[in-house]
């Protein structure tokens, strides 16, 4: 598609009508051109084909055999244990990554030190490598042929192919979310307020909890929401370390795969619909929180200044 032809825009002296209500250029006084409409229409079509239709399909297939079959599918013992394990994993992973994210964001955002660039890059590592490698890494460490695995197994501690492995793999994959979100926000809020607090006699923890944290709370929340969504949906890394023991080490995404492989399509889509619901809730929460924090670094910086003011 070619870009909207600006020379035509002035010439087209159409009256300002219903089209402008749906679609008009953000800047300038020019009228809506066909190019503009075409671009918006293409985006809408794309979203429809790739997002809305598949999402609707999941829900319609989930309910294909009726509402009773749906509830039976999601309350079945294996399904219940998969749902439970998924949320336990998220509940363990979130506070840890929150602690890590706050510490990393605080250190990088508020201090200058040697190796800061290196640390910032390192935090992004789990985003850069494939989740499968994240999983393998723990197998190489804690597996029976691994580095510390034989010792742990001899002492009756199971990490891999058990719940701790799932939690560790999820933690690895989701660790950057809070930190990534906080670093720009922390940087933008500067350190003047902290200096003022300390000069007025506040202690270190007091400054952190009463000055630093309130300034970045929306950023924290935003990071936590994203981290939670990924923790619940993680497939690749968890698949490597899970061993897929039904009812024991099967999370929701893994359980969906098992159901699908079992030709149990309506149950697979029923559990999928739960995950999709979490996704939709995430998007809503993200939208609400995003309004406070502003998305993207420049926007978030200015939004945060507004908040601080």
């Amino acid at each position: 598609m070619s870009a909207p032809d600006r020379s035509l825009v002035g010439a087209a002296a159409r009256p300002r009508g219903w089209i402008e209500r749906f679609c008009r250029p953000v800047s300038g006084n020019r009228r809506t051109s066909f190019g503009d409409i075409a671009i918006v229409a293409i985006s809408a079509l794309f979203l429809g084909i790739f997002l809305v239709i598949p999402l609707a399909t999941i829900f319609s297939l989930a309910l294909k055999n009726g509402i009773h079959a749906y509830f039976r599918a999601v309350t079945e013992p294996y399904a219940r244990s998969a749902i439970w394990l998924t949320f336990v994993t998220a509940a363990v992973v979130l506070p840890i990554n929150l602690g890590f994210g706050l510490a990393a964001g605080w250190a990088i955002g508020k201090f200058e030190f040697r190796g800061k660039e290196f640390l910032t890059t390192l935090i992004d590592l789990p985003f850069a490598v494939s989740p499968v490698i994240g999983g393998m890494l723990f197998v190489l460490l804690f597996g029976a042929q691994g580095i510390v695995g034989p010792w742990l197994i001899a002492h009756g501690v199971k990490i891999i192919f058990a719940k701790p492995g799932i939690i560790l793999a999820t933690m690895f994959v989701t660790s950057p979310f809070v930190a990534r979100e906080l670093i720009p926000v922390m940087q933008a809020s500067g350190s003047e307020e902290e200096q003022a607090a300390i000069s007025l006699g506040a202690g270190g923890w007091q400054t952190f909890f009463r000055v630093t944290l309130p300034n970045v709370k929306w950023g924290v929340l935003y990071g936590v929401i994203l981290c939670n969504a990924r923790a619940i949906g993680e497939f690749g890394a968890v698949s490597v370390v899970s061993g897929n023991i039904s009812g024991l080490t099967s999370t929701m995404p893994l359980y969906i795969e098992v159901l699908y492989d079992d030709y149990n399509f309506s149950a697979a889509f029923a559990v999928s619909s739960l995950l999709s619901l979490v996704a939709v809730l995430t998007l809503v929460a993200k939208r609400i929180v995003g309004r406070h924090v502003g998305v993207g670094t420049a926007a978030s910086a200015s939004a945060d200044e507004e908040l601080a003011a």
């Binding site: 042929q145 009756g156 501690v157 199971k158 192919f161 701790p164 023991i245 009812g247 492989d261």
Partner: protein, 333 residues
Amino acid sequence: MTRKCLFGVVIVSLFLCGARSASAATVALLNASYDATREFYRDYNAAFVKYWKAKTGQDVRIEMSHTGSGKEARAVIDGLDADVVSLALAYDIDAIARRTGYLPADWQSRLPNDSSPYSSTIVFLVRKGNPKHIKDWPDLINPGVSVVTPNPKTSGGARWAFLAAWEYALKADGGSEDKARQFVRALYKHVPVLDTGARGSTATFAERGIGDVLLSWENEAYLVINKSAKGQFEIIYPSISIVAQPPVAWLDKNVSRHGTTALAKAYLEYLYSEQGQEIAANHYFRPVKNPTGRYRALPFIKTFTINDAFGGWSSAQKKFFADGGVFDQIYQP
């Protein structure tokens, strides 16, 4: 302070859920198996739990792990704490024995019939009315025929299928090693997707509608027929195929650590009992013996065994599926 407490709780809970839930009343047994046995073991486990309770008064819970046979073996080697393994082919259990020493190298002689309580074979699953007229192995390489089979590097069923095709071409009129090589080369030219496991290939063929024929485990083919709308698919028995023997074994080192040795042996021995054989037959496996037609009978098919045709799995694996083996030589995507 609360933060510190929280962190402590998290660490402790991490280790707690690592410990095996050791309630005195119920004993757990983990069976590491492959894709195509999900439905069979669901029924068999229920029967065994009842049998064991009646015999010993002990409650037992059977846990299952299913994936491609090779991947499952890899997981056991890496520490999946299974008590027993029931895999698609002996080579995968050999690999566990060789790499971990969890069980002796001669494990296959510990249970009857080479430790294979049931067998299956490789058949063709075609679409309604068999529009491409696929009757036997040579029809698979007719122009315009598209064949679905998983990757022999990762799938047990695919390795059985590859060997069946090879042996057919070798034993056909005027057959030779060169002819066999040409035949399998041509065959894999007709394969549009190589999934990693049997279940993936079945979904490709039955759900996604790709291909004219699926080279399938016999029991898996019947499962597709029963789970899909009537008359949508047909099973074709080729003139000759391979006896696919999925073996079972207990892992000595793991069961002695769990204290489940007697239970694990009984669990596997019960597969050979009348009830175990009947459940296997109900799931379209072939029982060890079916002399009086007691169990569900499957159509007769002329077969050969891996030991007779290829001298066992070790040599077949080395010749065909190892890196640089025949499969690597003939297959170019």
